[in-house]
């Protein structure tokens, strides 16, 4: 044994040993000081499946988008469309032909090459008759997909589609390979900087660095990333404080945010999401078919109080179905400012001077229940009685409100970014029909010029703000809580995501 020779060491030797020991410790200390290369992120809800091209849940994209899967284009942290698997493109002057130059040398995680035929397969799968793509409508204007050579993809459109490049950046538009597409739900195979490793159902998904990643310009420092699913807000907080998870990019309970203040290790970051909390009304039925009623209700609402009561004051008031993240955002919260007297007068003008009674179908989520209760009190001020009926989300809400439009008022957070067009859809649960609005949105698609689009989106916002098809309340904040040494997570969320490419630890 090595140690037996030290049994009768002299004092001096013992000293030497101590010094050596300190040196060893110091060396170890240094080894520990090297930045960590693994991260554990917490998420509130486990996705059902890991294929964003066949499921709508935002959680699917929050695990896989830009980590495992990549699209032809992508959306950066400022919400801008940037090239990814397509390195450049040319749009014909009539806006009907898109010619993409694809990156070469891109491989899927199983070694399969990505080229124009893969891109064609993906798009045809998404827009085909059997497609179960949740955003299938976004591919509906594509007429033909042509592949003149392996590095060129040509999309011919039936009509100009100004949002096409943006939509191609969505999780539902990521590139998948013919061989592996059917299994992506359970074992996703993409082209991204991270490979899927395992999924312990009910517990966590593990990803590992893709050593053969095509983009040598980015340096991914993480070797391993885990997404851990913790539903209960108290359990989320406990996991953060105990260090079981390094970050909760979307912490679920604003009322617990203050509890992290005493923890020097953790930082809290309040950013923006695309989650628009709106109280939709059935515009086809009485009394909501009269826009004066809708406007009066909007004037009865003090948004600041709603945000304070429902989400601890964290959140941004909105005046239409659009967030400050989005291009061409205009603050329209002043269109129908909070004014009880004017609201009463307008209501009387519409023939409801003696009051009005209706029911809101509010999902069980905290934000919806709390907002509904505050709205109830505010409406009472102008003589309106609102009954609250709790409606289970998603199951019952989807079948009653979304599909059957069997409701008077409801409240829900719309997660899809830039989904202003839901007010132009027929059928859609608002039953809002305004040809002028539809025309503006049509013009957005007819131009590919971002400045022109922003201007048109401004007009669209104004129409909605004035018509009040829904009571526009607030945008949910992105409540990030993470270890202060962890850098590179997105603070805002122009699209639901947890992009890990730049995530790293510092000392």
């Amino acid at each position: 044994m090595v140690f037996s020779s030290f049994v009768s060491v002299t004092r001096r030797a013992a000293l030497g040993l101590t010094v050596a020991g300190v040196a060893v410790l110091a060396a170890q200390g240094h080894a520990f000081a090297a930045p960590k290369t693994s991260v554990t992120l917490g998420m509130a809800v486990e996705p059902g499946g890991l294929d964003p091209t066949i499921g709508a849940q935002v959680m699917i994209g929050q695990v896989t988008w830009q980590n495992v899967f990549e699209g032809l284009t992508t959306i950066d942290k400022d919400g801008k469309v940037v090239p990814l698997l397509a390195e450049s493109w040319v749009v014909s002057p009539d806006g009907l032909t898109y010619t993409f130059k694809l990156r070469q040398g891109v491989k899927f995680h199983d070694g399969e090459a990505f080229d124009s035929s893969t891109a064609k397969f993906t798009l045809d799968r998404a827009r085909g008759a059997d497609s179960v793509n949740p955003q299938k409508r976004y591919f509906s204007t594509i007429d033909t997909v042509e592949t003149p050579d392996a590095a060129t993809l040509v999309l011919k459109l039936k009509q100009p589609t100004g949002s096409l490049l943006y939509w191609l950046g969505w999780p539902a538009s990521v590139m998948v390979a013919p061989k592996t597409a059917d299994n992506n739900k359970v074992t996703p195979v993409g082209t991204g900087p991270f490979k899927f490793v395992s999924w312990a159902k009910g517990s966590q998904v593990e990803l590992a660095k893709n050593a053969d990643y095509w983009n040598k310009a980015v340096s991914v420092t993480l070797d391993k990333a885990s997404f851990r699913f913790i539903g209960d807000a108290q359990a989320q907080a406990a996991a953060l404080k105990a260090g079981d998870v390094d970050a909760f990019p979307e912490f679920g309970a604003p009322e617990l945010m203050d509890s992290f203040k005493g923890d020097a290790r953790l930082v809290t970051v309040v950013g923006n999401t695309e989650l628009k909390v709106v109280a939709g009304m059935n515009n086809a039925t009485k009394p909501f078919n009269d826009k004066r009623v809708r406007q009066a209700l909007m004037m009865a609402v003090d948004r600041a109080t709603v945000i304070e009561g429902a989400w601890s004051g964290l959140g941004t008031a909105i005046g239409s179905h659009y967030t400050p993240n989005d291009p061409g955002y205009i603050d329209l919260t002043g269109t129908w400012p909070y004014d009880v007297e004017k609201a009463k007068a307008l209501l009387a003008d519409a023939g409801y001077g003696n009051g009005l009674t209706f029911t809101i179908k509010a999902p069980q989520m905290a934000y919806a229940q709390r907002s509904a209760q505050i709205l109830q009190a505010m409406f009472a001020e102008i003589g309106v009685t609102m009954n609250i009926e709790t409606t289970e989300f998603p199951a019952k809400w989807v079948s009653d409100v979304l599909k059957a439009a069997n409701y008077e008022m409801t409240i829900v957070a719309h997660a899809e970014p830039m989904d202003l067009d839901i007010y132009a859809r027929d059928p859609y649960y608002f039953n809002y029909k305004n040809p002028a609005f539809n025309e503006v949105l049509q013009k957005v698609q007819e131009t590919a010029d971002p400045a022109e689009q922003s201007k048109l989106y401004g007009e669209a916002q104004k129409i909605l703000a004035d018509d009040v098809p829904s009571l526009f309340l607030f945008v949910m904040p992105k409540l990030g809580v993470w270890d202060g040494k962890l850098k590179g997570l997105w603070e805002n969320e122009p699209i639901p995501s947890n992009v890990l490419t730049d995530v790293h630890w510092v000392e």
């Binding site: 486990e46 059902g48 499946g49 066949i54 499921g55 709508a56 849940q57 008759a129 059997d130 497609s131 179960v132 793509n133 949740p134 955003q135 299938k136 409508r137 739900k185 359970v186 312990a200 159902k201 009910g202 517990s203 966590q204 851990r228 699913f229 913790i230 539903g231 209960d232 108290q234 359990a235 406990a238 996991a239 404080k241 105990a242 079981d244 289970e392 998603p394 199951a395 019952k396 989807v398 079948s399 009653d400 979304l402 599909k403 719309h414 997660a415 899809e416 989904d419 839901i422």
Partner: protein
């Protein structure tokens, strides 16, 4: 004995069949359709129809019931709508968490309750009895998930001795696995221990007043000897009955406690499946729970035969 067993097993099968029909009807009559939940708020009707066809939801209900039943009999529970993996495997994975958790809670609650209950009975109406009573009422009054939160605050957040939740899997080692289950098991066990302590105390007091115990004391046996040798064994039947009933409560209580501790157990699977309308998982999990309750009752009946020689004689 054999006839009793045959009759019990027959009724067990009939009950399970009835339960399966009930479960299937309820699950499929629930509002909400799994396909539209998966596709979210933007899907168009033709996409929805395509997915429903893919999931077999366009088939008539009786056909789906028979197909499910035939599958179950062959050990094929079908594929989960959300996870796309066989349900049998999912249940087995989750059972590897929930079963040890429930067993640990049972062992803990018995280990706490029997000594406490017997001691309280021995020194009834004294200060010991009072404090035991206080403990058991507190145990019954505090919901398991709340105890769980308190335990997390103390042992994970403040002291940092225990993980705040989650389960590393049995691959990480038996010790690590048991450690992850300890706090949840304690939160489940406290309420059970409270009830069991009361039952044990009452039952022991009752038996202590019986003639045979008085005879034993008259023969010159000490209080403790009479208690442990004569009273306790005879007082166990109500305790075992309660234990059998409570095992099913434990599994149900696990739904909440598993959520607090973020354990990937059967309870959380049921909870998630319900909110996602993963009907096929729900059907099987509820059927499994029902089978568990029915089988537990069967086992409790068998346990009576083991504990009580008189019942054994009657059965023969």
């Amino acid at each position: 004995m054999i006839t009793i067993l045959t009759r019990r097993i027959l009724s067990l099968i009939i009950t399970l069949l009835a339960v399966s029909l009930l479960v299937f009807s309820v699950m499929n009559l629930l509002p909400g359709d799994p396909a539209s939940i998966m596709l979210g708020t933007s899907a168009s009707p033709d996409t929805l129809a395509a997915l429903q066809k893919q999931m077999g939801l366009d088939q008539p209900l009786p056909l789906r019931y028979l197909a499910w039943l035939a599958g179950v009999l062959q050990g094929d529970l079908g594929n989960s709508y959300t996870y796309s993996v066989p349900v049998a495997g999912l249940i087995a994975e989750r059972l590897a968490v929930t079963l040890p958790l429930a067993l640990m809670a049972v062992v803990l609650s018995v280990a706490i309750a029997v000594p406490l209950g017997v001691t309280a009975a021995r020194y009834r109406n004294g200060p010991v009895d009072f404090f035991v009573g206080l403990f058991s009422y507190a145990g019954i009054a505090m919901p398991g998930f709340w105890v769980g939160l308190l335990l997390i605050l103390l042992f994970s957040s403040s002291l940092g001795w225990m993980p705040a939740g989650g389960f590393p899997g049995w691959d990480a080692g038996l010790g690590v696995g048991l450690k992850a289950l300890l706090l949840p098991a304690v939160s489940l066990a406290l309420a059970q221990a409270g009830v069991l302590t009361r039952v044990a105390r009452t039952s022991v007091i009752e038996v202590m007043n019986e003639d045979f115990v008085r005879t034993a004391r008259a023969k010159g046996l000490g209080e403790s000897a009479a208690l442990w040798r004569h009273a306790v064994p005879n007082a166990l039947i109500p305790v075992v009955t309660m234990l059998g009933l409570q095992f099913t409560f434990l599994v149900a209580g696990a739904v909440l406690v598993e959520n607090v501790f973020n354990l990937p157990g059967l309870g959380r699977l049921a909870y998630q499946a319900l909110s996602q309308r993963d009907i096929i998982v729900m059907q099987n999990v509820v059927l499994f729970f029902a089978a568990l309750v029915i089988i537990m009752n069967f086992l409790v009946d068998l346990a009576y035969l083991v504990i009580d020689p008189r019942l054994r004689a009657k059965a023969q």
